[in-house]
Symmetry: C2
Subunit: 627 residues, 2 copies
C-alpha cells in the first residue's frame, strides 16, 4: 500500500506498520517525546483519504478527531493513505546552541589554551616505493616511516591491514594515516588513505540524555561545529527514566532493543548530516560519547543491572576507546569512539564533561555545579577537589510527570505572571501562538506566582476559595493556566503536578545542602554557581530562589550554561589534553551517596516548603515576601 | 534424497551436490590431494544402489568403473544412494610426528631452557566484592587487582567488557582472566571466567603448507601435545603452487574462496579435536600460524597480488597479533592469533619457525638449513647472521608434477632398488600392499638407480636399448617401476617426470651453491645440514648426494627434522621468549634474491647433470662410481 504526503513524497506502507514507523524509516521524523508509545499525543498527522485503524487516541481531543487528526504512532492502515503533516508535528533535526558563551564553540575551545589535538589525528607520509634493494613489506614500510616521526609501536587492526596493499599503490606510496593516541605511549591506527583521496576529517560529539540526544558534527582540523542535530531519545517508549530503562533492559530482556533504539536515533542524525554536507561516513573518524552511567552502558550494550542493585556498581567507569563498528554508528567502522568516564552509578560521564565545560576544575575559588535534566546532579569544588552527589529529583523540569509538561521548545509556556489584583495569569509562549504545554521555567514561575498570590500555600496545596481558576479536575484540584477552545487542551497545573514539583525542588536543594555540609562549607563560600541543563538562559534565578530550589545567592553568582554535556564532549573530541583533564576530573570527584551519609531525610523534609522551613537560609526571599 | 553409507550413517544429499561435498559437510572426510577438483582420482567411493551422474572419471580405470567405483567429487545423484567407502579413500584426521627428536615435544621445548610462558596466559584473581564504601566499577575493580600484580595498562576489548558484569558475579568476584602480552609493556585481555568454571586452556600450532595443513592441539599449561591433525590444503583445487593461488586470488577474484577454503580445512581439524577431547572452543585461547608468505596472506585475507609482481613485496612481514574471530577459526573469538614473520615474499614464516626449531640460530658453528616442501628454501648462518634464499624447485618431491607422484603416506613407493644384473626394480611400499604412487624418497632412489644401471644418462634421458621396462608411454618414453593388474595403474616414471626431477634438484643445489658463494664460504665450513620437509627420516643421504641434490658431505653432518614449521609454531605458542627469538631470527635473516645477484643460471645449468658437471664438487660420488 501507498502512504502519500501532501507536498509530494510517497512511500510503501505495510499492513500492521504504523504511520510513525513508516515515516521514520523513510527519513520523515515527527515530534514524539514519548518515543512512539502513544502517550504524548504529539505525532499528529491529518488523514485526508484512506481508511485507518487507530489503536488509541490518547491525549487527542474530540475536535482534533473530528478534523481527521490521528496519533501517527498508534495508526496503521488497510488501504492507500494520504496524509498531511501539520507544522507542529514536524521534528526539526538540527538545532541551535542556547547559551551564548558556547556560541562560538571553536573560540571556547581556544580559551582553554591547549590547542587543537583531536581524538583522531592524521599524518601524511611519502614512502619510498619498494625495490629489490628495499623490499620490506608494506606494513613495515609504513611503520619505518612512522617511527621516523616519533609515532612508534602503532597498533594495526586486521581491517586496517586488509586494504593496505591497494591503498599504498593507489597513492603511489603517498598515504595519509589517521590514528588515535589512547595514552602517552600508545598509537592506534584508524584508516589509511591514498594521499589524493584524503579530503575532510570529521568527528562527532554526542550527548545521550535520558530524554534527548544531541549530536555535533565537528571539523577535526579546526574545531568548527559544522552542524548540530538533536532528537528525542526513542528509548523513552520503554520508560521515562533510567530506572525503568534498566528494568526493561534486565527483567524485560530488552537491552538489545534499547541499544538499537538509541543507536538508531544517533544514526538518524548522522545520516542526515552525511547527506546534507556530502560527507562520506569513512571520513568520520572519531566520536565522543557523553551520557549518564546508564545511557553509556546501554549505548555499548553493557548490562546495566548492577547499577540499580545495592551497592550500585556500574560495569565500567573508565571506558577503553572502542571502535565505530562496535558502537554501531554509521561512521568509519574503525573510528575511535571515546566515552566520558563516570564517577558512580548516578553521577555519569555527562556530569564529568559538564564540569570540564564549566572550567570550575581550573579555578581555586569554590563553585557549585548543578545539572538539572531528567535527573539532577550537583558538584562542589575547585581546582583541587570536587565532591558530587545525585539528587532524586526526577524529570519534572523537563516535563516528565507533569500533566502538560514539555521541554523548552516551540509552544511551551516559558513564563507566567499572575496579576495580584485580578489573580488572572498571563503567559509567554516560546515561538508565540497557542501554547501546547508548560516547560521547566514556566513551572517555576507558576508555582512562585501561585504562592505569592496565596492560591497555593507553603506546601503547594491549592486554596479553592482564592480563585475561580482553581477547579476540580480529573486528578483533584487544578489551576487553569491557559483556557483553550478545545476543553481537553486547557493547560492546567494539577495537585499531583504541585506535589511532584515540590518534591523535585526539595530533592535538589537537599542535595546541595548535604553536599555543602559534607564538605564542611557554608553557602557564602560559593564564588560561582553553574547551572546546566535544559533551563539554559530561561531560568529566572530570583523565582527559582523564591521557590527554594537553588541557594539564596546574588543573581550575579549564577552562570547558566545550558547543555554542558555536549560542550564537554566537543572539548574532549578536539583535544587530547582536555581528554586527560576530563579523566583527571573524574578521578578527583568524590561521590557522596546521599542516602548513606545520614541527615538526607531531614534536609529533604525541611525543603518541602516554599521556599524552606528555615527561612534564615533564604534571607532575600524572607525580605521580599515581608516574612 | 538420502545418501547412506555401509556401516550405518545416512545424510540428506541435495540435487546437484557432489557426494564429496555432502560427506565433508557431514564430517566424513575422503582422501583428496587435488582438493576436490577431479584430477587425482583418490576420493573413490563404491555405489551399491541408486543412480548417479558422473561429470568425469578422471584417472579411474575401466576395471574400477566396472566395479561401481566413482570419484566422489565428480559425482552427484538424482535418487537415494547407498555407497561403500573403501579403506584407502578414508582420510585419517590426526597423524604422527615422523621425526624422533621432536617426538616428546614438551621435552624439546624444555631443552631451550626458556620455561613455559604461552601466548595466552592466565591469572587468577580474588576481588573484594563491591560495597558502598568501595563502589568502583567492575572493570576498574579488575584493573586495580591486575595493577597490584604488575599487569598494568591491560587493554580490554568491547567483547571482553560486554560479559564482565555477569562473569564477576557468577564467580562471587573470583575470576580468571586470560591475556596475551604482545610486547614487554602491553597486555591484551582475552577472556574472563568465573573461577570455578575455568577448566582447561588450549592452544593451536598451525602449519599451513601449500599442499597440507597440520594442526597441533596443545595444553597451554604444560606444553603437552594432546593431539595432531592433518589434512590436505583444499586450496589445491585452485592450483598446486603459490603462483597459481595468487593468480586465482587476484585475477580470478578468488581471495575470499581461498581464505574460506583453508580456514575450513583448519576448522575441520579443530572441530574434530573439540568433539574428540570434549573441549569447549572458548578454551582454545591462542594459535600460532606458520606458513609461507602467500599462505599467511591468504589465511588473513590479505591481497597477495604484489608478492608476485616485481619487486615482490608482501603486505606484511611482521604480523600484529589479531583475534580468533578475525582469523575465522572455530576457537575463542578473542583468542590471540600470532603469525610467524616472513623474511620476504618467497621466504616465509614457515622457514623462520623452521630455523627456530633447528636451533641453528643458537650455534656459533655455521649450518645449512634446507626446507624441501612444495618449494625449497635454504638458509646458511649461525648465532650471529643468517642468509636465506628461495629455490624455484617446485613441488616434485611432494608428488606435484610427477605422473604417479604422491606424498609419503600409505601406498607410496618410498624406496627402489634396481638389480644391476637383471635390471628389474624391486620396491618398498609405505604400509605394505599394492603401491598407488611414488613419493620423494622413492623418486630419488629411482633416478639414482636408473643412472647407476645406465637406463638413463647423466642428463636423465632414457636409453630404450638398455631395458625392456623402458617403453613408449603417452608422454614419450617411460620406465615401468611397478606392473599393476590394471594397466592404467602401472606405476611409471616418464620423461617429463625425469626432466622435472632434474630441474628441481638442480634448483636446490644451485641455490645452496649461490648462497654459499654470497656468504663467501665453501662447503667444508658447514658443521650441520638440517633437512626439513616431507622427506623426514626417509631421505637417503647417500642417494640424494649421488643425485647431486644436496652437498657432498659426510652423512653424519645431516640431520633430518621433518616438519620444522609445525614444531617452530609449537615453540612460539608455548614461550614468549621463543616468540621474541623467532622475531629476532626473522630480523637477522638477509634475503638473497637468486635471480638478481648474478651467476644463478650458470650454477643451475651446471647442476642439470647427475650429479653435476663439476665432479670435484662431489668427490664421494666420483669415487663410488669410479669416475
Amino acid at each position: 500500500m501507498k502512504l502519500s504526503i501532501t507536498g509530494g513524497k510517497s512511500f510503501e506502507i505495510n499492513a500492521g506498520a504504523t504511520i510513525y514507523e513508516t515515516l521514520k524509516a523513510n527519513g520523515v521524523f515527527l515530534v514524539s517525546p514519548c518515543g512512539g508509545k502513544g502517550t504524548c499525543g504529539k505525532c499528529q498527522v491529518k488523514v485526508t483519504s484512506g481508511s485507518v485503524a487507530v489503536k488509541s487516541y490518547g491525549k487527542l481531543g474530540q475536535q482534533e478527531r473530528h478534523n481527521g487528526i490521528v496519533p501517527a504512532c498508534q495508526t496503521s492502515t488497510t488501504s492507500d493513505l494520504h496524509i498531511e503533516i501539520p507544522e507542529h508535528s514536524k521534528l526539526v533535526l538540527g538545532g541551535k546552541i542556547a547559551v551564548s558563551i558556547f556560541k562560538d564553540t571553536a573560540a571556547y575551545l581556544q580559551s582553554y589554551g591547549t590547542g587543537i589535538d583531536p581524538l583522531a589525528k592524521r599524518v601524511s607520509l611519502t614512502l619510498p616505493p619498494p625495490s629489490i634493494q628495499d623490499n620490506i613489506g608494506d606494513l613495515q614500510r609504513l611503520t619505518r616511516s612512522l617511527d621516523g616521526m616519533g609515532i612508534t609501536n602503532m597498533r594495526f587492526s586486521h581491517e586496517f591491514v586488509s586494504t593496505l596493499m591497494e591503498t599504498l599503490r593507489e597513492g603511489g606510496f603517498n598515504a595519509v594515516v589517521s590514528y588515535s593516541k589512547p595514552n602517552d605511549t600508545t598509537f592506534d591506527a584508524i584508516s589509511a588513505y591514498p594521499h589524493e583521496q584524503c579530503k575532510g576529517r570529521f568527528g562527532l560529539a554526542i550527548d545521550i540524555g535520558t530524554t534527548t540526544v544531541v549530536v555535533y558534527l565537528v571539523d577535526l582540523s579546526n574545531g568548527t561545529v559544522i552542524d548540530i542535530g538533536s532528537t528525542y531519545n526513542s528509548q523513552t517508549k520503554y520508560g521515562d527514566d533510567v530506572i525503568t530503562r534498566i528494568v526493561h533492559a534486565t527483567e524485560g530482556g530488552g537491552l538489545a532493543d534499547l541499544r538499537d533504539t538509541v543507536a538508531g536515533d544517533i544514526n538518524t542524525i548522522v545520516d542526515f548530516f552525511s547527506s546534507k554536507h556530502n560527507i562520506d561516513r569513512h571520513e568520520v573518524e572519531a566520536a565522543v560519547i557523553s551520557g549518564n552511567t546508564t545511557m553509556s552502558h546501554i549505548f555499548w550494550g553493557l548490562n546495566p543491572a548492577s547499577i540499580r542493585e545495592d551497592p550500585y556498581i556500574p560495569t565500567v567507569n573508565y571506558y577503553p576507546i572502542w571502535r565505530g563498528a562496535q558502537a554501531r554508528l554509521n561512521i568509519n567502522p574503525l573510528a575511535a569512539v571515546y566515552t566520558s568516564p563516570s564517577v558512580a552509578s548516578y553521577v555519569g560521564g555527562d556530569i564529568v564533561t559538564g564540569i570540564l565545560a564549566s572550567k570550575m576544575h581550573r579555578s581555586p575559588g569554590i563553585s557549585l555545579f548543578m545539572d538539572i535534566g531528567t535527573n539532577a546532579e550537583v558538584a562542589i569544588g575547585n581546582d583541587e577537589w570536587i565532591m558530587t552527589a545525585a539528587c532524586s529529583a526526577g524529570p519534572c523540569f523537563e516535563g516528565g510527570g507533569i500533566k502538560f509538561g514539555m521541554r523548552a521548545t516551540q509552544g511551551a509556556i516559558e513564563s507566567i505572571k499572575i496579576d495580584p489584583a485580578t489573580l488572572t495569569p498571563s503567559v509567554s509562549v516560546i515561538g508565540g501562538g497557542t501554547p501546547t504545554g508548560i516547560c521547566g521555567s514556566g513551572m517555576i514561575d507558576a508555582i512562585v506566582e501561585l504562592y505569592k498570590t496565596g492560591i497555593i500555600n507553603q506546601k503547594g496545596v491549592f486554596n479553592p476559595a482564592k480563585s475561580p481558576l482553581v477547579r476540580e479536575g480529573e486528578d483533584g484540584l487544578e489551576f487553569l493556566i491557559y483556557k483553550s477552545d478545545i476543553p481537553q487542551r486547557d493547560i492546567v497545573l494539577t495537585t499531583v503536578d504541585m506535589e511532584n514539583l515540590i518534591r523535585a525542588k526539595a530533592a535538589i536543594f537537599a542535595g546541595v545542602s548535604l553536599l555543602l555540609r559534607e564538605a564542611g562549607l557554608t553557602l557564602d563560600v560559593l564564588e560561582k554557581v553553574y547551572v546546566a541543563g535544559g533551563f539554559g538562559n530561561s531560568l529566572n534565578v530570583e523565582k527559582a530562589v523564591m521557590l527554594g530550589m537553588i541557594p539564596d545567592l546574588p543573581p550575579d553568582k549564577y552562570i547558566f550554561l545550558g547543555n554542558t554535556s555536549i560542550i564537554g564532549a566537543y572539548l574532549t573530541l578536539m583535544s587530547d589534553t582536555l581528554r586527560k583533564d576530563l579523566e583527571s576530573i573524574a578521578s578527583k570527584m568524590t561521590y557522596i551517596e546521599l542516602s548513606v551519609v545520614g541527615g538526607y531525610m531531614d534536609e529533604y523534609m525541611s525543603a518541602m516548603f516554599i521556599p524552606h522551613t528555615d527561612l534564615s537560609k533564604f534571607p532575600s526571599v524572607a525580605a521580599a515576601l515581608g516574612l
